[in-house]
């Protein structure tokens, strides 16, 4: 390097280090580069902001978050909280956000179930089962999610029969081109008691599990935690339900000539989005699960057998805890992917956050900067919160090495 050119400054100074030109001094260079980057980014941000202000003024678009309390004037099909056309943009934001969370929440649960089944099936010693699971995973992972969503919505759900020729499903549900109609649960007066019993049972189960673990660590005796838990969480609420006089009934949808009355309507957009997200994400979760199980070396199982553990406890105490350590981090990122992918709702018209807020509200107000910033902030909050929880979990579960 060029620093060879620089000769030691000789005996004149007390500083015996070689005299180096400042652009060859790594420290000075570092400071220079950082200042340059900082200035460049600062200049870009300044230029962007000043241009934006000028352009907005020219186009007579208001800025600031004043639009939040203005009347929206559009309707939203699926809503979890009351909303009318006279509601505000802020209300529309909450409706969209809740719809996003609804589809993401249900999607995560179903995708996890399907993903674990398929992931384990891929490792099955049964050739046919393993091959079927492989075909599923390869087919789904190698086609775009958007294509799958459009397929479910336009080719499958739109092709369902009209209301008059609804498909009757078992349990009093109907399926037609306007969605899935299922019986609506009607909660009687005493139902809160049942919920209370369920909550109490759950808390009691957690307490007993803790106690049993402590006792096992102390004395080595195991308690029938599973059976007690079943009794507390399932049987206790059931008993309360029966004692309170069965305070739950169903309002069945009633098939008319042109319309269906009663029941709960599940919109086809929701069904399409949920189907697409679950099927797509399950393929990725299956791969995560497979990798996690394969990451536990065979020696672990063999050692557990050598100690005299039976296959059940081996799986329970040796394999699964180690596999979970590998599975959980990528599994969480799949959950985040599913949540972010739910924004593709815009393609099938499901009123999620992006479709309602970054779509309709943006078009009506024209306040692109504020609307996009809020939308991104919501997703960023979800992502950052999840990764904070993940870091905490990883720190807790990390292998303790010497």
């Amino acid at each position: 390097m060029s620093s060879i050119d620089a000769r030691p400054s000789g005996a004149t100074g007390s500083d015996s280090r070689p005299h180096v030109a400042f652009w060859n001094n790594p420290k000075a260079r570092g400071v220079l580069f950082q200042m340059l980057l900082f200035l460049a980014v600062g200049f870009l941000a300044y230029a962007a902001a000043s241009n934006a202000i000028e352009n907005l003024q020219k186009q007579k678009i208001a800025s600031g978050f004043g639009f939040w309390n203005n009347i929206a004037g559009f309707d939203i099909g699926q809503r979890l909280i009351p909303y009318e056309t006279t509601s505000t943009y802020g209300r529309a934001f909450w409706v969209g956000l809740l719809n996003t969370l609804l589809v993401a929440g249900i999607g995560i649960v179903l995708a996890t179930l399907l993903g674990f089944v398929i992931g384990i099936a891929r490792l099955s010693r049964n050739w046919l089962v393993a091959k079927l699971a492989t075909v599923y995973v390869e087919l789904i992972r190698n086609t775009p999610l958007l294509l799958q969503l459009l397929f479910w919505y336009n080719a499958v759900l739109k092709a369902l029969p009209e209301v008059r020729e609804s498909l009757a499903l078992p349990g009093g549900a109907f399926l037609n081109t306007r969605g899935l109609f299922v019986p609506e649960p009607v909660f009687g007066a005493g139902f809160s008691l049942v919920l209370g019993a369920l909550g109490a049972g759950f808390v009691a189960h957690l307490g007993i599990r803790r106690w049993a673990r402590r006792r096992q660590e102390r004395t080595g005796q195991r308690a029938p935690v599973l059976a007690i838990g079943f009794g507390l969480i399932v049987l206790l609420p059931l008993l309360v339900y029966l004692l309170a006089g069965q305070p739950l009934s169903f309002a069945y949808p009633d098939l008319g000539r042109f319309n269906i009355r009663g029941g709960v309507q599940v919109y086809p957009e929701f069904v399409a989005l949920l189907l697409g997200l679950v099927i797509y994400t399950a393929a990725f979760i299956a791969e995560v699960v497979r990798a996690g199980i394969q990451a536990v070396s065979k020696g672990q199982t063999e050692a557990a057998y050598a100690l005299g553990l039976r296959p059940g406890p081996t799986l329970d105490l040796v394999v699964i805890p180690q596999a979970m350590r590998v599975i959980i981090p990528p599994l969480t990122s799949q959950y985040l992917n599913l949540t972010k992918n739910s924004s593709l709702a815009v393609a099938v018209g499901y009123p999620d956050l992006v479709q309602v807020f970054a779509g309709t509200v943006l078009n009506q107000t024209g306040q692109a900067v504020e609307v996009i910033a809020i939308t991104m902030a919501v997703y960023l909050t979800i992502s950052l919160a999840t990764s904070l929880i993940m870091n905490w979990y990883n720190a807790r579960k990390a292998l303790v090495e010497r």
């Binding site: 390097m1 060029s2 570092g30 580069f33 950082q34 200042m35 980057l37 900082f38 980014v41 230029a47 962007a48 241009n51 934006a52 000028e54 352009n55 907005l56 020219k58 099955s124 010693r125 049964n126 050739w127 046919l128 089962v129 079927l132 390869e138 087919l139 992972r141 190698n142 086609t143 775009p144 999610l145 958007l146 294509l147 459009l150 397929f151 336009n154 080719a155 739109k158 092709a159 972010k340 992918n341 924004s343 593709l344 815009v346 393609a347 992006v354 970054a358 943006l362 692109a368 900067v369 996009i372 939308t375 991104m376 997703y379 960023l380 992502s383 950052l384």
Partner: protein, 458 residues
């Protein structure tokens, strides 16, 4: 001491119970584990539970596969001129309407690209295939040149071919300083060309003073070459085609290609920035990576579409396709950065220390020691990111770019082909095309993984 070692048990020795009097019962031969029957037994019917599983899987297979085969092949309509071919006959719906795909194939591939210029798109496909073949064929001659071709020559050639505009116009910009047409642009590109010559000379070990001469020479020679090429390009005379008329698979491949070419270097820079010891550089890298990875691609595309025009001065308008391209490339580079970072972290610290001990500077260390090793082990993950990028190009249809999926969406609702199975056929075709590209990449990643692990096993 017993002298008779049970070689021949003497008769009448009832007291020695452990000596067998009669031959042991002959056991049946062990269950065959080879051959068709044996294979079936070990893989499908090894236990009652396994048999049940097999029957269940067979049930599922028989439920799904015949329907697929019937729809896609046996009941499909292979020829016809319009919707009449694919409507229900005698109350029975036909299968896939391949006649529709055949009729609209050119539309799916080129979109609204002018018919008389489609050979240019074909040439683009050919050049792209050539570049990919050169890079992927391990024993190909001069693979280093292949990389230059793929990263520099190909993008410029494709831009020139498809848009019909001079791809080397920027080389002639410094000449604008002489004519006084556009001073700022001229200055910027003059500085860039000078810097290019200067840095090349420096990296060859030339002293700073002489390197400046090289920079000056590069500036003059490249500008002259740019002017000469401008004449040549005018003589060839390709008709300009606006990007609004680009469409179909062509656009999907252009976007994916640009994303692939741009996201790796950007991702490497971001990953190095994230691992940098300089706090400001590290801060901005982390900020960018975490921000982009935390939001959905669609919001990034919305941002590029609606906010970018606001951020730019009034007189600069950015092409719609270019906006989306920037969005996708930046999005992919954030994911690439994390993949590269994982590779950098997997490298033992001794490699860094060894490189520094030899006296290499930071960039020399990265270029010669660290990155070649780190990138090699991450090739499978890099390709997986590319697969994600390729699938993500389909989101362009939401911001109004005419990509492959948009071509399918437009064609399937065309009244000329309004038949019940046309939508499903269009989607099936799209799925097959996307699958071929993505599965191809995935297979390459797997093969590379196997090749690399073979090297590790020695």
């Amino acid at each position: 001491m017993s002298t008779e070692m049970s070689s021949a048990p003497p008769s009448g020795t009832a007291s020695r119970a452990y000596v067998r009097a009669a031959a042991a019962q002959v056991l049946p031969p062990p269950v065959a584990t080879s051959g068709l029957i044996g294979w079936l037994r070990t893989n499908l019917f090894s236990s009652p539970g396994n048999t049940l599983l097999t029957l269940l899987a067979l049930l599922i297979a028989f439920w799904i596969i015949p329907g697929f085969v019937r729809f896609l092949i046996t009941d499909a309509v292979w020829s016809g001129a319009d919707r009449e071919a694919c409507v229900a006959k005698g109350g029975v719906l036909p299968g896939a309407c391949w006649a529709f795909v055949k009729d609209r194939l050119a539309y799916f591939i080129y979109g609204a690209y002018p018919v008389e210029s489609r050979w240019r798109a074909d040439l683009f496909f050919l050049l792209g295939a050539l570049g990919i073949g050169w890079l992927l064929w391990l024993n190909a001659p001069r693979r280093d040149l292949g990389l230059v071709y793929f990263l520099v020559v190909l993008p410029l050639a494709v831009y020139g071919l498809l848009s019909g505009r001079n791809p080397l116009a920027f080389l002639a910009y410094p000449y604008d300083l002489v004519t006084g047409r556009s001073v700022i642009l001229g200055l910027v590109f003059a500085a860039l060309l000078f810097l290019a010559g200067f840095l090349v000379a420096r990296s060859e070990g030339v002293r700073a003073g002489r390197a400046a001469l090289f920079g000056l020479a590069a500036l003059v020679i490249l500008t002259a070459a740019g002017l000469a090429f401008e004449r040549l390009w005018g003589a060839i005379g390709l008709a300009p085609v606006d990007t609004a008329r680009w469409g179909g698979l062509m656009v999907t491949l252009v976007v994916a290609g640009v994303g692939i070419v741009a996201s790796l270097p950007l991702g490497i820079l971001l990953a190095l920035g994230r691992r940098s010891k300089l706090p400001v550089i590290k801060f901005f890298s982390v900020l960018f990576i975490e921000f982009v990875r935390g939001v959905p691609l669609i919001t990034v595309l919305f941002m590029a579409n609606t906010m970018l025009p606001l951020f730019l001065p009034d007189d600069i308008t950015v092409d719609k396709l270019l906006r989306a391209l920037v969005g996708i490339a930046l999005f992919a580079s954030a994911y690439m950065a994390e993949v590269v970072r994982a590779g950098l972290q997997a490298l033992p610290k001794g490699q860094y220390e060894g490189a520094m001990a030899v006296g290499l500077g930071y960039w020399q260390m990265m270029r010669l020691i660290i990155l070649p090793q780190a990138l090699k082990v991450t090739i499978p993950n890099i390709v997986n990111t590319y697969i994600g990028l390729f699938k993500d190009t389909s989101l362009l249809l939401i911001v109004g770019i005419f990509d492959f999926l948009k071509a399918i969406e437009t064609a399937r609702i065309d009244p000329q082909w309004a038949a019940p199975t046309v939508s499903a056929t269009g989607y099936a075709f799209a799925a097959i095309v996307y699958f071929i590209f993505c599965y191809g990449m995935a297979s390459y990643a797997r093969a590379t993984e196997r090749r690399l692990s073979k090297a590790d096993k020695r």
